[in-house]
Amino acid sequence: MRNISLIVGICLVFSIGAFAAEDPKVAGACMTCHKEKSPGLYKQWFDSEHAAHSVTCLGCHQAKKGDADAFSHYDATIATLVTPADCGRCHPKEAEEVGNSYHASAGKILDSADAYLAHVAAGDPVAVLGCESCHGGKVEIDKSSPNKLARRSWPNSGIGRINPDGSLGSCNACHTRHSFAKAQARQPEACSKCHLGPDHPQKEVYEESKHGNTYFTNEELMNLKADSWVVGVDYAAAPTCASCHMSATKTQGITHDVGQRIAWTLRPPISKHKDNHEVKRANMQDVCTACHTRTFTDGHFYQFDASVRLYNEKFAKPATDLMKLVREKKLLENPAAFSNKIEWTYWELWHHEGRRARHGAAMMGPDYTWWHGFYDIAQHFYFKLLPQARDLGDPDVDAFVDQILSSDPMHKWVREQTEDLKKQIRAGEMQKIYTRFFEAEE
């Protein structure tokens, strides 16, 4: 409680400071022109909480003469770019949480395999529009540009944007300008600008799940515009992305550090537990219990964890080991990464269907767990990855593949008779192979 008062106190001090710096005469001139020339922008702001609290144009856009992106606009020195550091003048807690979040590091993907692939297989414009729009790009200064921002890097509202002032992120990735509404960020649509598609279909999984189902059925009961938005208290119809990952519960405050309730990272080829995953799992379970009993949520995580381990052990680890062997033995025709077919097969196995399967399991999307997920993994593992590995004609690789198919109990079925397999399933023998995934402790 004391913490909250302190934070509120700091907010107030900062906000008074920020408002005092605003010259209302200049703000009045801004409004006069922008009401005519960009009426939509003006109207969004006019209807916003910012307007209700006398936060006008300069509250966010005022810049100091020396700032890299400052420019002179009529009688004011302003910057187009508003960064988390600017927002943090009034919202310091949120800015700090965002700065610590995994979201803020999304711009660092620029050195990752994804960005490499976009640059080599597509080209720079795609890296700008396809990658940096979501991940955030590095905003470059161009002194000859009217607003000092280089056109290649602006506009950009990516969540991990690398700003000239050194801050990371972009608040309007979720709180779209110029209304910056809480309500919008609470809706799943805010997240689904980026979290969708073949490689991370969180939006589609949510839509398929019971959670999404109830949300879209009961949107009007969601109390989205309320100041306080505590799950089970201010609304109960359904959870949105924000409810589970960020918003307040009766015991947890709202957090803009979006990873605080996630135990696994399902992003890499082989899923890993995050640091302090027990605490993070408990945080998530706390959200679940606003609507579910403890036994219910325990059951869900028991099933979910088992499917993640299954993915890791049955497909991800053998596939990764196989690729490691192939690379160590330099069996690939072309030197560059992604210049050989088998690399694309492996990539899609974990980056596309591998994630679909895991996200489907995490968020109760049956179709994504199986048909868009494990079904595709299995097909591509048995009928693309392994045959393409054999095509390399290397005795060690052949031995590795043979060993998987003849001695791993999860894969041995390939060389057995259907009737025998059916008997094993009916007898519960087949299921026993997988018991260890339910019971594993790490």
Binding site: K25, G28, C33
Partner: protein, 496 residues
């Protein structure tokens, strides 16, 4: 007198052809005189009569006069008799006595010829005068000129004749306009003209010669307060006021208004990509000290345009629709609501009226039917209990909407909404912003100011009262900074 005239006439019409000539001359003369008297007395007022009186009758008169000697010539050929013999045969020996100049026939012909010349002179002057009248321009080529005639009659220049702006003064202008008119007759007859007719920007007389006869730039104009009332598309058609104090004086240095552009001290020239004059290639102004500042468009949409339209700015570069004013549908409806011709007590009437007037109807009859059907069906469907008591209001609204449509839309000439946009201000088109924008820059990278308060103070902008910003600002109002800024700007601007 009459008898001797009749005798002469009988004698002069040698054969049937001669008689036709005489009849033409006589009837056209008598009719001309009768109609002229009728017009002078105000009994005859129809504009089309002018066409007959001043164009048809004189032509018939001359035709008749020409036929008479033709008949004589023909008779001489046929009979092989000499003129003298024919004369004697017709007028008798006493008529031709004294020969040549002394004879009675000669005297009669001489007097009549003098009379004819006099009559023709008067008729020609009358004809030219009539052709200078707005009625002639507006109605002679009815179908082609109808849109311009309609808008002209509703315009602030309805008392200024077409030729005052479109022809000008002097022999050159007269000849030019008659040649042009002849070509227009050909193109109207053989259907060679464009629809809609392009604005005759090049044929128009220079504004210095026309507009400035009444509106001269040295005149002090001061500023002009203008309130525009618009109505929301809600059930109440809630009024919203925008009040501008337009700074229109040519003004002294440093304190000038919009008419600075035509102040004799200044000269503004521009080149536009075509004669629509919407997109500038460059614009320059000559300062009193003779230096020239040129601003070049850095964002041309037409690559490498040839400077097709090079002009020194005058009245019509902004007032391009000073007379033939075509309205915007929303604004026309707002105006009819303001005047009370469309009753705001009808729910959603603003929204419905705009929808109705925007409907694409192929003819006036279709528009009358469509507008009525649209409005009546909306109220019958949405307010079945009340509609019966509203029929009078709906009727009145339908009439007003049809009037708007008929004034602005002319399917025969393919004139729909927006066919002739206005450059005045910046609501129909970029208008002022054609030059006052940040893409047009001088060598130092400066642009011509597009600051809102450069040309007008703003006393209300879509507010619920016409002088909202002169009222005290509500402490909690979201637009309070704008309110106070605009109030102060206005107060400062009128101090100077």
């Amino acid at each position: 007198m009459l008898r001797s005239y009749l005798d002469f006439v009988r004698a002069v019409s040698l054969d049937r052809l001669g008689r036709v000539g005489v009849i033409l001359v006589t009837t056209s003369f008598v009719s001309f005189m009768v109609m002229q008297v009728g017009m002078l007395l105000g009994v005859v007022t129809n504009a089309y009569v002018g066409l007959i009186v001043y164009l048809l009758f004189p032509v018939l008169f001359v035709l008749g006069l020409a036929i008479i000697p033709l008949a004589w010539y023909r008779q001489r050929k046929r009979t092989g008799k000499s003129i003298d013999e024919l004369l004697e045969q017709s007028f008798g020996p006493e008529g031709v006595q004294g020969r040549a100049a002394g004879s009675r026939v000669f005297r009669t012909v001489a007097i009549l010829t003098l009379a004819n010349v006099l009559i023709l002179g008067v008729a020609s002057i009358k004809m030219l005068h009539f052709m200078d009248s707005a009625e002639f321009c507006g109605t002679a080529c009815h179908s082609v000129m109808s849109p311009e005639w309609t808008t002209y009659q509703a315009s602030p220049h309805a008392q200024v004749a077409c030729v005052e702006c479109h022809v000008g003064e002097g022999m050159g202008a007269l000849v030019n306009s008659k040649l042009n008119g002849a070509w227009q007759m050909v193109s109207a007859t053989f259907n060679l003209y464009e629809r809609p007719i392009p604005t005759p920007v090049h044929q128009l007389r220079p504004a210095r010669e026309t507009c400035e006869k009444c509106h001269w730039p040295e005149k002090f104009y001061g500023s002009r307060l203008q309130t525009r009332t618009s109505y929301a598309n809600d059930d109440q058609s809630t009024p919203r006021y925008t009040t501008l104090n337009l700074k229109i004086d040519p003004g002294a240095a440093g304190n000038s208004g919009v008419h600075w552009h035509v102040d004799p001290e200044n000269e503004v020239r521009y080149a536009s990509v075509d004669d629509r004059r919407e997109e500038m290639i460059w614009v320059e102004s000559r300062q009193p000290d003779g230096s020239v500042r040129r601003f070049v468009n850095t964002r041309l949409t037409v690559p490498d345009p040839e400077a097709e339209d090079l002009r020194t700015m005058d009245c019509v570069d902004c007032h391009n629709r000073a007379t033939h004013i075509y309205e915007e549908p929303e604004r026309a409806v707002d105006e009819q609501i303001r005047l009370g011709a469309i009753n705001r007590e009808l729910p959603y009437i603003r929204r419905e009226a705009v929808k109705a007037v925007r409907g694409g109807y192929p003819s006036l009859e279709a528009a009358e039917q469509g507008i009525r059907a649209g409005l009546e069906s909306f109220y019958r469907r949405s307010y079945p209990d009340k509609v019966s008591s509203w029929y009078d209001r709906i009727d009145q609204a339908v009439e007003a909407i049809v009037r708007i449509w008929a004034r602005n839309i002319h399917p025969g000439m393919k004139i729909g909404w927006g066919a002739y946009p206005s450059f005045l201000g910046h609501s129909d088109t970029p208008g002022c912003f054609r030059c006052h924008n940040r893409d047009i820059r001088d060598a130092e990278g400066r642009w011509i100011s597009d600051d809102c308060t450069l040309c007008h103070s703003i006393l209300a902008y879509g507010e619920s009262t016409p002088f909202a910003y002169l009222e005290p600002a509500d402490e909690k109002a979201r637009n309070r900074p704008m309110h106070e800024f605009l109030r102060d700007e206005f107060l400062t601007s009128i101090e100077d």
